[in-house]
Point group: C2
């Protein structure tokens, strides 16, 4: 990796089109001058658009792709129609070819995950990639994974996610020994299904080697920030993420309604204006935009399809920090440190596993 | 059932002790004069306490139990130690014996579920009980189940939960044909694990018989109030519930911090006082206290252990509405209407089940 961070953009992904991607890139470049951009997509559309961004132009190039993956394409369809020829594929291929330090797309999540997995391949020893979310909490930002790459997961996969999540915490938050919690329906030892209990035993034994295993955490521990990394399989993780988004939006609507209910509320809101502005920024989902694909041989960021340039800039920042702080190296270190990785889950004898 | 609603109270459950239960009962009785109470617990403690509530006394009696189940008792321990002899068991037994229309306890959820299942038994044809939550949304209150009675669930169980949830919606919200949605990680047909896809096929075929099957819903549909009943297995449901509670608390803290940040914010908050008071009430978890056990031969309400008399009163209201609106009869009707209940899931031929 050179001193500059080279970013590969699927400019055709995202509901707001290539302009939002370039606007976001310009916003981000103004903060991080050591970035360069490859915009993948239809040349006839992107070349004239880039002319409108004279500050971006010297540090950017357009790479032509014919095919655009749509939000309706199923992952298998997307692979058939867009492998090699789509802007989404080409954006990932640039990472594989060493031309870029990370790829970013606002396109169809399923298609992006399928292409990224097919093109970059899972890291040897990691059985499945995961999507990690950066989750704001009362304490600090934390990492929650998997939030929807795959449904279900055995103990080995939950342990893989712990290694990946801890490496991301080291890269993003500069924490030497992040705490890891397993999402469960209670914090008592006998709670939950077998996969999560088995994973708990392995992580307990591995605690200290790259992370501290905290134990089980419950849904409300996420917002409290009880641990740095919350590990779960993709079904529960996705439901937790979307339920939290829904609740935040619901409470946001309550606040808005309360502060516009009558003339006194409006006056009060006006006077408390600055504080409420700060609150609004805090609840703005654009500021926490970006899901991180972990477990592949390369960094891929999923920006929310519906976001604008502010959100796209946020997602670029995430990829930038991952690349700059060498998350891939940190994952490698984490895997080497983890004692029972290759032998898990059978390495822990049954007798040891039972509570005394 | 007589015209009055007879309530069986485990007065020893709940962290705040018997006084909170009696205070809550008095608050509730002032609104609903057609209620009577049996307080189960240590006579030496409850009799003098009841003297302090002269308005409750004529419509209440104390029933002595020696044993108190604690929050630390595991369900199996609780059954061993408290079967027959504990206030929790006795409160449920009163329902079984036809002395009370519903039982309520603020005690240990796992113990209460184990005792209720053991004492009342699941309704014939329903394989497992569920815990239903009443969830406030942007539209109206809705029902979410199972939020933690058991972990995992096959298609038959998810269909049972739909029948139970729809019956509760008919009882509480007076909706003739409530809409039912299956919680999933996407709304497309191919998403999710096999159990949820199989349940979707059965519910689709049964739609119209006691409920309208809406299709898959995602986590953020809960807060929107997209459907009247959200069905899921207890692991994902519990995580959704607790994550939403955590998020609501987190946003509540943000609001408080914003409105006390400086002198202007405080002034604004003072002026908008009434509207913010209403908002605070809306976010007060005591007003939506109470989990409902569904699928057993009798109504049991779990009040939150840590709640005070306001919360206990809320949970009493829930049981009252269930009893008054004959939820047990409505469950029976729902089961008779559901076409493939006893044959499910094998009644749906594979060929029919595949999308065209």
């Amino acid at each position: 990796m050179s001193d500059s961070i080279r970013i590969s953009v699927d400019a055709m992904g995202g509901d707001k089109g290539p302009r939002a991607a370039m606007l976001g890139a310009r916003l981000f470049w103004r903060e991080r001058r050591n970035t360069t951009y490859i915009f993948h997509g239809r040349q006839a559309e992107l070349e004239p658009l880039l002319e409108e961004f004279p500050d971006l132009k010297p540090i950017s190039r357009v790479a032509h792709s014919d095919v655009v993956i749509t939000m309706d394409d199923k992952p298998s369809q997307a692979l058939r129609k867009g492998r090699g020829s789509s802007s989404m594929w080409a954006a990932i291929q640039s990472v594989k070819d060493g031309e870029a330090d990370f790829a970013i797309s606002g396109g169809n999540t399923g298609a992006l995950m399928a292409m990224a997995t097919f093109c970059l391949r899972p890291i040897e020893g990691i059985s499945r990639p995961a999507i990690a979310a950066i989750w704001p909490t009362l304490r600090t930002d934390i990492i929650v994974l998997d939030v929807g790459a795959t449904v279900g997961g055995d103990a080995k996969q939950l342990c893989d996610f712990s290694i990946l999540g801890a490496a991301l915490a080291r890269a993003l938050f500069d924490q030497e020994l992040p705490t890891v919690g397993l999402l469960n329906v209670g914090t008592e030892e006998m709670k939950g299904h077998d996969e999560v209990k088995e994973a708990a035993r392995i992580l307990h034994a591995a605690s200290g080697s790259g992370f501290i295993y905290h134990g089980f955490v419950e849904g409300d521990d996420i917002g409290k920030g009880t641990v740095d990394v919350v590990v779960t399989e993709g079904f529960a993780g996705n439901i937790a993420l979307k339920t939290a988004e829904g609740t935040a939006r619901q409470v946001g609507t309550y606040i808005r309604n309360a502060l516009t209910a009558d003339i006194l509320s409006k006056l009060g809101a006006l006077i408390a204006g600055q504080a409420l502005q700060a609150l609004r920024r805090k609840l703005d989902p654009r500021n926490i935009n970006g899901g991180v694909f972990l477990g592949l041989n390369g960094v891929v960021i999923k920006s929310h399809g519906g976001t604008d340039e502010i959100g796209f800039k946020g997602a670029l920042g995430l990829g930038y920090e991952m690349a700059r702080n060498r998350v891939m190296d940190k994952i490698g270190e984490g895997m080497r440190k983890f004692p029972t990785l290759n032998a898990a889950p059978t390495a822990i004898p049954e007798a040891e596993a039972k509570p005394a």
